[in-house]
């Protein structure tokens, strides 16, 4: 379908500005439950049109890409905008459309993979769970390959197109031993199927599951807490991504309001947004308004350097967008991080553990997404952890809630930054060690 034509049609119908966004996704996936429980191949195309009539805007998204479907969407958007009250702060759409070279983000074999192509990887995953522990069973998992293409055009330019592929696998392993159950889950994510580490993932899930058969509980109290790199990856975006969004700052919903130039974290912490980094999952050549991306230092040695902007929030402050617009096909763009990167420190994982006297090594949490980025209150429920005593991993434990102020934890509470960075989609961070963290438990 022709996005430029849709933009032109909107202007003909009375829009002063229009932008069109076309998303195509192709996905092949296997659901795993001991065996391949189910498999599917799906193709989906979605189209969104956002228009402005003066300072009144509207968005319509449709998955009916026939000529009539698109015409109806454009007409509907114009008619909504005509009756919508104006946004006094609206100053127009992005006028700087372009792309950044971020290297190859597309793998043909991954984009065209059939369920049959995924099968050997699933087999390797199952076998490696057994390799990790002979008694371990792979009980639930996924294996997915996905290709996405996005095309953007507006009244000022375009179209620009970007495409990327991604592969993901996940496995839950379980060991039953004398009436007790141990479980553990592990995952791997990459640009292409061939870069997935199925063997390593399965071995880790299987062997850990056996260790957690004997998991005890953590006594209520304050501890030195080490978050394994993958736990750091899950905590950071929940708290930081909304807090550094210029929209939340401007609308008074971020605890970082008025804190540019101030030390908000320990000097050991540097956080970047890899908008245009080569080979980083989440980096892209242009954002969801067609604005070229860039790398940004959000926090430099503990000091808050910048928020992230889309065109709307940038216009409100009379500055340029940072290229951080993010959207679905039928929602308005909002500023958001592309890939949050916490710069690694010097300490190896082993050194961090050896420096821990009375601590808890957190391997896996759930519910961290229920933390409160507005108040800065972090909470996460531990499903798998180890007690660390006098520099050594002592025994497995489960259940307990980590609770505390995120910024206090990352300022005075931060003790060590590891060098064992793990890359996930949209985030990469190493293991971290904190002092005096409250864990609520039995």
């Amino acid at each position: 379908m022709d996005v430029e034509k849709a933009v032109k049609r909107a202007v003909e119908l009375g829009a002063s500005e229009a932008e069109a966004f076309l998303l195509s996704t192709a996905e092949t996936s296997l659901t795993l439950a001991g065996d391949v429980e189910a498999s599917k191949t799906v193709r989906l195309k979605s189209f969104g049109i956002r228009i402005a009539v003066g300072k009144s805007t509207a968005i319509v998204g449709t998955q009916d890409l026939s000529e009539t479907g698109v015409e109806n969407a454009v007409r509907s958007a114009v008619s909504i905008a005509r009756v919508s009250p104006p946004d006094p702060r609206w100053a127009g759409m992005n006028e700087k459309i372009g792309t950044k070279d971020i290297g190859e983000t597309f793998d043909k074999a991954t984009a065209e993979a059939t369920p049959v192509d995924l099968l050997p990887i699933a087999r390797e995953l199952f076998d490696s769970v057994k390799e990790g522990c002979r008694e371990a069973k792979p009980i639930r998992g996924f294996l997915t390959s996905r290709a996405m293409e996005a095309t953007y055009a507006n009244t000022y330019g375009g179209p620009v197109t970007r495409r990327e592929t991604m592969a993901f696998l996940y496995i839950d392993a379980r060991v039953d031993e004398a009436g007790e159950v141990g479980t553990y889950s592990e995952y791997s994510i990459a640009r292409s199927l061939r870069r997935l580490e199925a063997g390593k993932t399965g071995v880790e899930a299987g062997s850990r599951a056996r260790e957690f058969v004997k998991a005890g509980s953590i006594p209520n109290g304050k501890y030195e807490v080490v978050t394994l790199n993958r736990v750091s990856d899950s905590l950071l975006p929940v708290m930081l991504s909304p807090a550094v969004s210029a929209l939340n700052v401007q609308e008074g919903r971020s605890p970082l309001v008025g804190k540019i130039g101030m030390e908000i974290m320990s000097e050991k912490i540097t956080i970047e947004d890899f908008g245009s980094n080569v080979n980083t999952l989440g980096s892209k050549p242009f954002d969801d308004e067609g604005f070229p991306t860039r790398n940004l230092t959000i926090v430099g040695k503990g000091v808050l350097n910048t928020f992230v902007y889309d065109t709307y929030t940038a216009n409100r402050e009379g500055r340029e967008s940072t290229g951080n617009a993010s959207r679905g096909y039928s929602t308005a763009p909002r500023p958001s991080l592309h890939h949050l990167h916490l710069k690694s420190g010097d300490a190896t994982f082993e050194e961090i553990i050896s420096e821990t006297r009375n601590g808890v090594l957190v391997m896996s949490t759930i519910g961290e997404w229920m933390s409160n980025p507005v108040s800065g209150h972090l909470n996460a429920t531990i499903t798998h952890a180890y007690v660390v005593e006098n520099g050594e991993i002592a025994r497995p434990v489960k259940n307990g809630v980590i609770s505390g102020n995120f910024y206090e934890m990352f300022k005075d509470g931060l003790d060590m930054v590891g060098n064992d960075t793990r890359q996930d989609y949209g985030v990469s961070a190493p293991s971290l060690k904190f002092r005096n963290v409250v864990i609520a438990s039995k």
Binding site: I59, S76, S84, A332, M370, G400, V401, S403, A440, K442
Partner: protein
């Protein structure tokens, strides 16, 4: 046209040697109005339509979908579904069900699409202004969500079912600021109904109430961390049940061993005052007259007086577990195959009055769902967690001070065994804004129950 394409897909699949085919057509419209601090920030309408095809080929299931609504694409989808079936596991036995035909419509007196866009914007704007009118409120976002969903399932074994449902609601979030501290409280009310639901309520009062609570919460302390005796309100009971127990009763997790309830049918797993039901047509809940395999949704008593009676199933899991097909095989939309999901999952009421429960607790916490952000469970280990809204400490048998930032954690079976009293009230709610996530699929659900006293929960605090 969608129905015709579904029939075409069925026909093609049968010719290609499948032994069973299920074609699902869907058309969904969703409108979202977002008012941010007095300004219309987003008015969006989303139209989605497409076809999902699931085939049973050589004893295996495969799935594909398309939203290119022409015969050629449907044929391609059938071929892809067959190719997907080649790698799936062999299914030994499918649960029995009867062929049936029918058309269902949820109650809707005034169609939301007949209400003008201006009226919808102005109502949302007024609610937002009321929320902002209170001193101390720095930020307020109000959303109006309106969904219309049409689903059609036609299968090669004689099912021909369709439903149309209307779901709508209004949500409001306020951020209060006091002496350098900030706190947010969000709440929403939704119903399977027509515009009459929106007209029947004072939404300015509703958002003002949220703001008042945010103003109180920002001054409130965190609860003391550790073990506490708890009273949960109907919304919290719904959340706890859904997360802590409902998922572990889903037949797919049970049959794969990913549930701590595997192999425990017939055993006592909760205190005798606990009876839990899953009902697709419960008042206040979401509307699920049949599932996405075309099974009529049955009311399932999952737990009766503390004894585990049944699990929720689709055809495949019913076959594996030797249980009846309960009609719980649901798909987010036409691009997903159905998986076992809850519909409206709730505890049935008993005889305790609210004051009586608080008095009996003596010392503990009264956890409230208003302002809660959700929950999550690790079904294999049985650990669950959820966040409550601003809640009350209970001291000397009465409500004492408000606390904020309440996060609860527990273990499934300990919690249900620890139910010491069940109230006589019952409230079930649903949402037009969110749902339950499982296997990367989102499903609208309902949940609830009466007020319930729980012996012990772990409360995260400061």
């Amino acid at each position: 046209m969608l129905k015709e394409l579904a029939a075409y897909g069925l026909n093609i699949a049968e010719k290609l040697g499948t032994t069973y085919v299920e074609a699902r057509a869907q058309r969904t419209n969703y409108e979202l109005i977002t008012i941010d601090n007095g300004v219309l920030k987003e008015f969006s309408k989303t139209f989605s339509a497409g076809l999902g095809i699931r085939v049973f080929y050589n004893g295996r299931f495969g799935f594909s979908s398309t939203n290119d609504l022409n015969r050629e694409s449907v044929k391609e989808a059938v071929e892809k579904a067959i190719s997907a079936a080649r790698v799936s596991r062999k299914v030994e036995k499918l649960g029995e069900r009867k062929a049936c035909k029918g058309v269902f419509k949820s109650a809707c007196r005034k169609k939301p699409e007949d209400v003008s866009d201006e009226e919808k914007v102005s109502l949302t704007l007024e609610a937002n202004k009321a929320g902002l009118s209170l001193e101390g409120i720095k930020s307020a976002v109000t959303r109006l969500g309106v969904q219309r969903d049409w689903r059609y399932v036609v299968t090669s074994d004689g099912v021909d079912l369709e439903y149309e449902s209307s779901l709508l609601g209004l949500g409001h979030m306020s951020v209060a600021f006091e002496a350098g501290a900030m706190e947010r409280v969000g709440d929403q009310e939704s119903a399977v109904a027509g515009w009459e639901f929106i007209e029947g309520k004072n939404w300015a009062e509703f958002s003002l109430g949220v703001s008042k609570l945010a103003n109180e919460a920002v001054r409130a302390p965190l609860p003391p961390p550790g073990r506490l005796k708890a009273v949960a309100d109907p919304e919290m009971v719904g959340l706890i049940l859904h997360e802590a127990f409902g998922h572990a009763c889903e037949g797919d997790l049970v049959s794969s061993g990913d549930s701590i309830l595997s192999g425990r049918l017939g055993s006592e797993i909760a205190s005798p005052s606990v009876t839990i039901v899953d009902d697709g047509l419960a008042e206040g809940g979401y509307f699920v007259p049949f599932d996405d395999e075309g099974n009529i949704k049955r009311r399932v008593v999952v737990v009766e007086n503390g004894v585990l009676k049944s699990f929720m199933t689709g055809r495949e899991t019913a076959g594996m577990l030797n249980l009846p097909v309960s009609g719980n095989s649901r798909a987010q939309d036409f691009t997903h195959f159905p998986i076992v999901r809850q519909t409206n999952f709730f505890m049935t009421p008993r005889d305790h009055g609210f004051e009586e429960i608080i008095r009996e607790v003596g010392e503990g916490i009264y956890i409230l769902g208003r302002g809660a952000t959700g929950g999550q469970v690790d079904t294999a280990s049985g650990t669950f967690t959820f966040s409550a809204g601003p809640s009350w400490m209970i001291r000397e048998g009465g409500l004492a001070e408000l606390v904020r930032g309440v996060v609860i954690s527990g273990s499934i079976l300990e919690t249900l065994n620890g139910v010491e009293a069940v109230g006589r009230d019952l409230r079930i709610t649903t949402s037009a804004f969110g749902g339950c996530g499982k296997d990367n699929q989102l499903a609208r659900v309902g949940d609830g129950g009466p007020h319930v006293m729980i012996r012990e929960l772990i409360v995260g605090g400061g």
